[in-house]
Symmetry: D3
Subunit: 332 residues, 6 copies
């Protein structure tokens, strides 16, 4: 939303705090919809029409976008609070979501199981876990991280799918790898994230997330399924647990142990790589808006990112940029 632009739209209140100026109380609000967030103000005396406001409310806002200290800011002229049971209101409409719907991502993960899992016990184990109601429903909405990468509904699945694909592709290059155990590891490596993060409008760490971390949570969630599987070899179970436990690669990234098998190295690399490529993709999306070749300094990558000249490629219509803004090439 560019400064100078009038606004008349629906938003979710992501936060709402009352403050006090010389001219009386006012509201500091963060408005959110599926495309992002914007800060805003309801100045006095209009502010006094809203004795209380709470995150999670859906509102219709009329106002105007100003710029304040180099950031856009929404000045509210009028704001109506929608009823929670308003048939027009679906909270999901206000949360950013993966381009490919989470259900399709889940299906693509299941297709990988079908394609690569030739060993019955592995196939059965994966289907059991993915078919579990709580796990499935959490995976379908969980983000892939708090803020840096894949921080949207479906983000965990999108990341899971690409890491799994990368692992399978590398098994073609290194055929001595144990493809099936690696796939199981790839699919479940970040399972704990579905409990580590709250998801939803706030998407913050949960208590469990901060106190244990997603690695330990993930192993704990798989444990009952491992116990129940009578046909899966104990050595394979141990390897799967090692893949999950070691996937951060180094102690300083929170891995209790470091990779000790080639499959564990591959999983760590694929995980790391996909997170970084997703961050760059998001930077590219921003850079495309302004036509810049260099991103601003990116704290997480500790560098600026560059969009280089692309090799001309007749087979790609628009030369390296996806046709729509869906980041994930589902049907690659």
């Amino acid at each position: 939303m560019a400064p100078g632009q009038p606004v008349d739209d629906l938003f979710l209140l992501a936060s709402a705090n009352q403050a006090q100026s010389r001219n009386g109380p006012y509201w500091n609000i963060t408005f959110q919809d599926a495309t992002g967030k914007i800060d805003g103000k309801i100045w006095s005396p209009k502010s006094q029409d809203y004795p209380s406001l709470e995150p999670g409310l859906v509102v219709r806002v009329k106002g105007f976008v100003e710029s304040y200290r180099d950031k856009s800011q929404l000045r509210v002229d009028h704001m109506a609070i929608l009823e929670a049971d308003d048939p027009d209101v679906d909270l999901a409409d206000f949360l950013p979501t993966s381009c490919v719907p989470p259900e399709e991502l889940m299906e693509a993960v299941e297709d990988l199981v079908t394609e690569h899992m030739k060993h019955g016990p592995w196939k059965k184990f994966c289907k059991k876990v993915l078919g579990n109601t709580e796990i499935r429903s959490r995976m379908l909405t969980a983000p892939g991280a708090k803020t840096v990468h894949h921080a949207y509904v479906g983000g965990l699945l999108e990341h899971t799918l690409q890491v799994s694909r990368a692992c399978m592709a590398l098994c073609d290059v290194y055929p001595a790898l144990d493809r099936q155990t690696l796939l199981a590891g790839a699919i479940f490596h970040d399972l704990g994230k579905a409990w580590e993060l709250s998801g939803g409008p706030a998407n913050d760490y949960t208590d469990e997330g901060r106190l244990f971390g997603h690695i330990q949570i993930g192993v704990e969630k798989l444990e009952p399924f491992l116990k129940k599987s009578k046909t899966l070899d104990d050595g394979l179970k141990m390897h799967l647990k090692h893949l999950i436990t070691s996937h951060h690669g180094e102690h300083e990234f929170g891995s209790p142990v470091r990779p000790k098998t080639p499959e564990a190295f591959i999983l760590h690399f694929a995980d790391n790589m996909d997170a970084k490529l997703n961050i760059i993709d998001q930077a590219y999306a921003e850079m495309d808006k302004t036509g810049q070749d260099w991103s601003p300094y990116m704290r997480f990558l500790e560098r600026n990112v560059y969009r280089p000249t692309q090799t001309p490629d007749k087979s790609k219509k628009n030369n390296g940029k996806p046709e729509n803004q869906c980041l994930l090439p589902l049907k690659a």
Copy 2:
């Protein structure tokens, strides 16, 4: 060669130094053939039959393998020096070499160019460089590193081929990547190693190698070809040079700059991954001899490596272990 075993064989002298014991002078020798190295002694008075010995000589040795301080050691009972022009002597027979002959590896690299390089200027550039007599002949014999990984004739090509394949496989998963520039980067990322290392029996760093490093040497070797290519876009040339310059990933690994494009990240990961998998493969080869599940502590990886239980796979005959000891699956 196990202790207690008699020996009657041809060897290359990798090193030969005279020493002095209470009983007179003796020779400390390192014998080498294509399968490895073994230290040995010629004790006095037999030692006095050889007033001088030099690395590079080929000899026929009769003797006996002893164990000394937990290492095997060859006691020489008789040693005859072969003439340099002996038709039976081919130095190459005494150097460890990649399983797949270097010429086939080079062909496989060229096949990748043919398969993926659709942009004429890229294809032409790669063919020019690979067709250059000096470059080609150096690449065909160069090792991939001094000691840790791919330290054998053909090692550079083997590493180059697998890194290139890994990059191409990942382009299938991330189709927005510039596949052709990435392939050029993968093929030439370690080109400088062919000058950084002497190869041959000693395989030590060259003066240039220690004073500049293979990154700078590699860029320098490509520079004349880049200058000559009139059709290749300047931005693509710049990207290729960035891929090579940044492929060590972090300053602390000797990268003058860090990766700034997604292709540069991918190349760094593929390079790192292939080196580590080669180290593990070598550890596995040793572990197979003794039937151990755990490798000894590996200084370079800073850990012990484990061979996990393999998922039963009917499609693999010998379950995860290559049929012969060739590490590289050429016809994957």
Copy 3:
């Protein structure tokens, strides 16, 4: 055992490998009893009396202590293998053990529970876990680490007891701490070590130990007891699990998460402190033998350790040195 000394004693074979010298095959053996280990040789032709030897055998050795390259070495003149069912042979006699018998250490731990656990559910939980047959029997023999500190039978319990005592003492200084949860954390913080290490003559890491680490193993072992405890508040369970998960303090020491509560900080400090004091105690014991003020360089502490002048203290009979060589002051 000083060089020049004749030997006639019982030992456990900790390792036995055959080697080959110019004079025929010989045996490299590590002999062990409760006071330590010594390397030795059986030279040819006597070596040929023993076609095979295996770790775990108990033998009676006559021989002589030589010094070889600054280390003592036992030359075997005669060696008789005892029958496994020999009534004189108790394997435990050949393993180093804590001065205070493990059973007394366990009792002392249980006394702490009785003394400090005023909240019924905590007391019941601790008694259940400590009363479990497998856990109790493993805790009674487990070492506290592989080599560096507490590497003897009872070592885990000795460390557990001192860490628990230190935590309780600090609760007197900082009364706002939750003494009971902290005690539960102290008692069980290293529980996983009873599975991470094999104990016994070899005392090496187990596969589980290397692939998961004792933190994850410990949490896994407690999980069923936590699930079963209906009366213990969920928040307290979560805190206990956090204490165990975070007790290494920093990611680089293998903590998946870092301490987030004051109790977790205290436990980490007490654990770290006790390990270091035990290392210094062992160095002091060595220094006492030779009358040195400075220890040799200690790799784990990365320094030399000093025994300073002690303040004269009439209440201590022998001024700072324990009366016997028992390191742990049980009845303090």
Copy 4:
């Protein structure tokens, strides 16, 4: 002070700078009293009533608390400057101070000397130093650090007392420690801080503090007392100096040498632990105001801190929270 609240109170000016707005000059002021600090403004034209203002003045302010960019800010409507010799003005009233008065803390330290120092020369030495007029008066007012922990009048003594108590408690657990030398080290470990920091309203580093650090200053201050003590053994003096010199534990925390004795390890741990617990206590005090379970991100600890569920404890009336806001339990 919450936004929207009228103010009529005495403050110390901690800083006062004139600035210029479109509407004329105004004053940026930091007001301070024993409970904390608040920024404020005197806008034009009222600002022109105060041609000059200086830190250290005591003023009576009438005004109003606004919120500005998420921080409270005091808008001054009227301000009267009190005479320096006003009998109502005691500067100490405007500085934050330890809950337990510094004199009582000093007494508690002296009680520890009486209780534990059985060796005459140690007792005499400690009493001499603590009895020295300059040292005593500085210790009574010195803060424990610039900002992070114990940053208030009496803070140094509070920290000194708790570190000493923790050391004495650990001597009960590890009776081989030299209790008396350790106590001397604990009492004087941070003595240099009384010169490193200016204390007072500004509480910044002094020139000496920045150029030498409190370790070197502390040793320098003790040196004359050590020289004068004829009865104290030289080895004990050396140990005390080592305790002070090494108490930061690692070079990277500014220790010129690292701990080489068990007492030095203990002192370092106790020092580190008390600083961290004090930081957490302060975070808890803030969290109690807002009812949060998690603190904001704490830069010094590099983490968020959690208040866990407390074990029910009938012996504690208010379950883990001190009855008043005094952080230190003096009569524990």
Copy 5:
């Protein structure tokens, strides 16, 4: 420019962005002249007189300096845009420049060549490079860094000259050093910076600068001159290239290789030292304005810097402070 001061002067627009307030659009501008930069605003409705403004314009401004959030800010009352071909306008007048004019600095560098280069091929090589039109013109204007040190026209030459002088002075102390190769290395060590940075009003990194770094660029620029020099020994060429390649000293500062010769160590130290002294000189210049003894915290040096008491020195007129604000003592 102090708050409260009226302004009537010429400036270069370093940046100009339009923003939107409640009262209409306004301009955020950064004004620059040779002495520094100041942010400013043109408020509505005056802002509407300037439908577009671009960096690089030269303007005459009348206005007033306000303070806003502790920074000075220029409120524009009137602004006239000068014609680009206005004879009064020389862009160089608006860029900060070394005190000693770049031409004189270049002459001083050339004097060093004349004085120290006794070996014909070295002298000829240096003169060739310095005489090259593109190199000379870039060196005359290039800054020494982006922001931290020597960030002004002539900065590269000033740094080059002082590093060269320091190296020559150290050769007097260590006469075994190869003075001439070291001088060549000192003169050209940062040559690549003339292409790494854009210089000019923006002075940002160029694409080449970010993708390759100035070390690789510098070697590339010298390569043709090295190839052409037939008389210079290959070993000397190799040493010069090593000096440039290794001058950052450590991998983590972006050196592809680390110094391997004494001359390379000296060059690295001299380079590092001169950069730090220049930073301190700039801090001193700021501190002199306010009479402070301590600088504010300096992020690059990670510390505050102190101006100590100076030894009285009759030979220096103004006791350690240069007579004018020229930082470089050209005729030392």
Copy 6:
């Protein structure tokens, strides 16, 4: 001493330990003279002629140099112990010493004081300290470090002189520096080393050295002289103490504080540089013996060092190598 060479010479016993072989007791001895050390053996039965041997004895040895595991080793055939009061025995003859006699080095340091110290109080202070009997006698014999650099009698003075010269040379390049305070700092920066190291045949750390470090010892030794100097400004004293306290540059090298003044930066650089150049000089001396261009891996520098091609220089007779093996060019 090359293997195969007969020996008939005087040595100091640097160490002597009895050991036990199959053939009876033998002696492991380290023999030392001014040129270095060599290990040796006295085998049984000759060993039994020497019931006890102690470090510090001077002996005449006849024997033979053997090589053992790539090191030379002296086999003793005959050994006579000289009387301690033998007029032929001067212990100093057996210790390695700086080429330039320590007295001349001291004179050269005093010449620097005379030349540069124009401020009376500085000159007087330096003369007082250097004239003190204990300090002077310790400085004349102290080594510059334990092993790595300047580890010989006179080494401290040699290092002190070169660091002082380097600082003075840099003051010519940076005339704003306070030359006199810097000189005082350079002369006394390592004063504490004369107490930190024992010097003599063993040259190990003293107790004080390990417990406090030479920085604190040095400041302590200067303190009484600083107190006595009435004319030296307090600010100058403070600066001198800061120079000494901060000269290791970074906390991780044991500096309690880091440099805060330009003089402190210069001193740190000069100190660091001189130590490294001395290490390289020693490596060069070894390399000259064997004609190698590359040194072996040097643990302290963490690299191999290279001797590059030297620029031809008619003014140097032997082209970069000193005429004799004196490392220090005293009359430069």
